[in-house]
């Protein structure tokens, strides 16, 4: 098909985003017989996306070794019943096959001298209900996935940012391609595909303290703008980090015995989560930290005094970036780590779990021809923060499912649907607009304004309707007055401008969904609605954007047919309850 001035690439299967989910989708589709595949990434596949900086831990359920009831129960419990429990079951049933595949492709997991897996009891584990985590060697996982793609002859296009999905001509419910540009040449590229899989990750809001600044909700917004539904956007990742600079590896740091202390030197987590203490999940610790700070017992420190030389050896293998950064800063010296370091909570959007594109059990979206997997989705297996079924492990299981589903669809379709040329030309012009402005504002200005709205603890951690409403007004003002002025000097700045735009539009999704959910549930802690209202709020909030205006609707979770249901209709959020009990 002719597309005029655009460089055009035709493929059976287009995969947008080459992280763990995208690589799995490509490899499984190839195994299922799809010959013509193209993986496109704005970075370099194997060195980009969250999985590259995956912090050494992989919660892989091992049949015969792990108790299924505990894993499933904790996934739903920490998912706060927002899980699609069909997905949670499918994930747990399939994740070990994905582990074996990773190993067959050269990914290394830590092993004991006897050859068994060396596993750590990190985040979400307790003596009563242990959850053991496999450990991999940081960037080695994605390095091996790229090598496997190359070995199988699967084409990769690096450093091309896909910005728009394209519909089949005259069929707004069908996706038939995509548009993007090369980060160095700036040349626009059109992709024509029988099926497209979105695996471009979540939204980090370029959060400080984590290496996820390339993850800017690109897939969420291009899907939303094309007519897809988002879900779970009110639920967010509350990452924890050293206050001095970016730190990933909480699971391992907690598993090795790191504990949290308040400004009085007290180990406070036992008050808020007696079962897990300092091994609690991220939103629990973050909310507890915020309560301590609010009550005047900050700052918060992480205590490493229990660490041994063996702990540091392990850190060097499974968290090589952490080890290098802390050594460079002089915080690891002579095989010892500083005994106490100031620690922070950080709003990291929906990396690992939380909001994204809504999918069914086959990874299909509501648009024909568009599938999604990994962090680009709303994380249906994990719900709010079902740590037994999120992040890289979910990227592998959902990526594999998406690849197989795409293969089945491609077998059924004889020809590409033609794309609409007027839509292509319009989107091409939209894409270029920041480059064509003679005057305007730099992307960093908008990025910082979005962060100023989202990062204070009163917005994302201890939420309140008044503050969320103010945030939505500020976002609306930025949309009306700053977004139209974004200027890019060159293709690099164009990427930054589009990322800033996506951050702003995702912020709108987050704030509106958080405002709509008038209860508290996991990471969604509302000071003005302190109870989890199981009677009313076992619902997913679904976002759509018909006619450029964001619309929300509630959809009841089919909890009656799921294995696990909450035992009470109404219960106070445990962090608020604990704070009232002790203070």
């Amino acid at each position: 098909m002719k597309t005029g001035a655009f460089d055009t690439f035709s493929t059976d299967l287009l995969i947008i985003g080459g992280g763990a989910a995208g690589c799995f989708a490509a490899l499984k589709a190839r195994e299922a017989g799809v010959r013509n595949i193209l993986v496109v990434d704005k970075g370099h596949v194997g060195k980009s996306g969250c999985a590259t900086f995956g912090a050494g831990s992989f919660k892989g359920f091992i049949p015969g070794e792990d108790p299924y009831e505990i894993w499933f129960g904790k996934a739903v419990e920490a998912g706060c019943y927002m899980n699609d429990q069909d997905w949670t079951q499918a994930h747990l049933n399939e994740v070990y096959e994905r582990v074996k595949e990773l190993e067959s492709w050269g990914v290394e997991f830590e092993r004991n001298p006897d050859g068994s897996y060396r596993r750590i009891e990190g985040q979400g584990s307790s003596d009563l209900r242990p959850i053991k985590t496999l450990m991999f060697h940081g960037p080695q996982l994605m390095h091996q996935l790229r090598r496997t793609l190359v070995r199988r002859g699967i084409p990769i296009m690096d450093r091309v940012m896909v910005t728009h999905l394209l519909h089949a001509r005259g069929r707004p419910g069908v996706i038939s391609g995509a548009l993007g540009f090369h980060l160095e040449s700036g040349g626009q590229r059109v992709f024509l595909s029988k099926t497209t899989i979105l695996t471009s990750g979540g939204q980090s809001y370029k959060s400080p303290y984590a290496f996820h600044k390339m993850v800017t909700g690109d897939g969420h917004i291009m899907a939303l703008e094309a007519g897809a539904e988002l879900s779970n956007y009110e639920f967010t990742l509350h990452h924890l980090s050293y206050a001095g600079f970016d730190t990933t590896g909480m699971n391992v740091l907690q598993g090795l015995g790191g504990t949290f202390l308040n400004g009085l030197g007290e180990s406070f987590m036992e008050k808020y989560d007696p079962e897990h203490g300092s091994r609690a999940n991220l939103n629990t610790i973050s909310a507890a930290m915020a309560m301590e700070v609010k009550e005047g017992r900050g700052p918060i420190h992480m205590d490493f005094s229990g660490y041994t030389r063996d702990s540091l050896d392990l850190l060097k293998r499974v968290l090589p970036i952490f080890h290098r950064a802390f050594t460079r800063a002089g915080l690891i010296r002579d095989d010892r780590i500083a005994p106490r370091l100031e620690w922070m909570s950080v709003n990291s959007g929906n990396v690992g779990f939380g909001g994204g594109v809504r999918i069914n059990l086959s990874c299909e979206t509501n648009l024909e021809g568009l599938l999604a997997a990994g962090d680009a989705t709303s994380g249906p297996a994990a719900g709010v923060e079902g740590f037994c079924a999120y992040a890289i492990p979910f990227a592998t299981t959902s990526g594999a499912r998406a690849g197989l589903q795409a293969a089945a669809r491609i077998k059924r379709i004889k020809n590409h649907y033609a794309i609409g040329l007027s839509e292509l030309r319009q989107k091409g012009m939209d894409l270029s607009r920041p480059l064509l402005r003679s005057r305007g504002v730099e992307p960093d200005v908008l990025t910082l304004r979005v962060q100023e709205i989202l990062f204070p603890m009163g917005t994302y951690l201890l939420r309140h309707g008044d503050r969320l409403r103010k945030g939505t007004e500020e976002v609306a003002d930025l949309k009306a007055n700053l977004l139209p002025l974004l200027k890019a000097y060159d293709p690099h700045y164009l990427r930054m401008a589009l990322e800033a735009k996506n951050m702003l539009l995702c912020a709108e999704c987050f704030l509106k969904a958080a405002l709509a959910r008038e209860e508290s549930r996991g990471s969604h802690l509302r000071e003005d609605f302190p109870f989890s209202e199981n009677g009313h709020w076992l619902k997913w909030i679904i976002l759509r954007q018909p006619d450029e205006k964001l619309k929300l609707r509630e959809e009841p979770i089919p909890i009656h047919r799921f294995p696990l249901r909450p035992s009470v209709d109404r219960v106070k959020h445990p962090i608020i309850e604990a704070n009232e009990r002790y203070h």
Partner: protein
């Protein structure tokens, strides 16, 4: 901060760091045939370029250029 320096005596211009940088911070200086830090403000101090450089020509610091907005 971010990438602290690229040692011009060591850099052999292979371009690997330019290719892999997740934040698109680096470019090739075509005249000198060496990598240069083009967009330092966007560096996320992830150390990938330092770890991958075959000539150990790059040094990164964990402290970043941009202001971080703290939760409290």
């Amino acid at each position: 901060m971010g990438i602290q320096r690229i040692d011009t005596k060591r850099c052999n211009g292979c371009g690997h760091c330019v290719e892999i940088c997740p934040q698109d911070v680096l470019r090739m200086d075509r005249a000198r045939k060496q990598a240069v830090i083009q967009y330092l403000r966007d560096c996320q101090s992830c150390f990938l370029c330092e770890m991958e450089c075959p000539r150990q020509a790059i040094r990164v610091t964990p402290y970043r250029e941009k202001r971080a907005i703290p939760a409290w």
